[in-house]
Symmetry: C2
Subunit: 190 residues, 2 copies
């Protein structure tokens, strides 16, 4: 802590919290890094952290610069006609990965996860906590089923936007929705 001497402004405080969060998420994983520990590391009150980011999920999303918050998106996908949830999920992935700017932080996360165990653990715990648990509970299906569905969607993102397999990179969004939504829906229907 080398920032004694003056009272930091809001945006400085925010940055301190995010830096502390990145450090603790990397060191202890998503589950192990508590809101209290992040606040302590940043030298602020936990209430301050909640004021800025709401929940731990919110801190993680901001720290990793994710272009979305699962706490918002998951309910968005789950609400609406259940028989079209598969289609909504495929469209969501195409939207999030289709925009190069929103794709970048995912790519960073994916690269880190294939390269080091700390990042892989962080990604795993965040996925379980923010997506798997929520979807499994809301639909009354097993986490294995939700994970198989995520595997389909992440594989699609990987092959379309990273490896750029032409058959996927050149297909229209509509084609892909038509082709892949039934498999996704199949997992959701249990």
């Amino acid at each position: 802590m080398t920032r004694a001497g003056r009272r930091p402004g809001q945006s400085q405080t925010r940055e301190h919290i995010l830096a502390a969060a990145r450090e603790l998420f990397a060191a202890r994983g998503y589950t192990g890094a508590t809101v209290r520990a992040i606040a302590a590391e940043a030298g602020v009150n936990p209430a301050m952290l909640r004021h800025f980011f709401g929940t731990k999920q919110g801190v993680f999303v901001a720290a990793m610069e994710l272009p979305f918050n699962p706490a918002v998106l998951v309910p968005e996908v789950l609400n609406g006609p259940p028989e079209q949830a598969g289609e909504r999920l495929v469209r969501l992935i195409l939207r999030l990965w289709g925009d190069p700017e929103s794709r970048a932080p995912f790519l960073t996360l994916l690269r880190s996860a294939t390269t080091n165990e700390q990042a892989s653990r962080m990604m795993r715990e965040f996925m379980v906590d923010s997506v798997l648990d929520a979807v499994a509970e809301a639909r009354g299906i097993s986490e294995t089923r939700v994970a198989a569905l995520l595997a389909q969607l992440m594989g699609l993102a990987l092959l379309r936007y990273v490896v750029e397999v032409p058959a996927l990179a050149e297909a229209s969004d509509e084609e892909l929705v038509e082709l892949i939504a039934p498999a996704v829906q199949g997992y959701l229907d249990g």
Copy 2:
């Protein structure tokens, strides 16, 4: 070429060819690196290269130390009862990735593909040439369909063996076959 002066032994020749192949595949991609160019780079006759590795696919498999040759595996999966091809494919992925030793070269390829464009191009062209084209033609389905199927299988490998999502990492092979084979079969049935 600094190895003039004596006649290299068989295993030395083999290593020269593989080193030349790795260099050219990285520089020109899988499609751009011809058997002739690799042979020239290694200072051997193309016939010598074919003698050691059969086809370009064979050179690539040896150069990347892949634990399998798609030229052997793809027909293996496609032969046998067509209505069980989805199941055979899921079992194949679980077998190839389940063994840490055979998993290592895939992981290396996946890491490189998420990190640099050359490796990504190499992986893309090899996949198209050795898997996508062959399966699409044999089953009379579109390459997009085969690619969606591969997305499911690669996502499964990624989340089970790299990110290690517990719901997938702890599931038995049988559970995963039962859960995922229907989606894969759906793509194959067109």
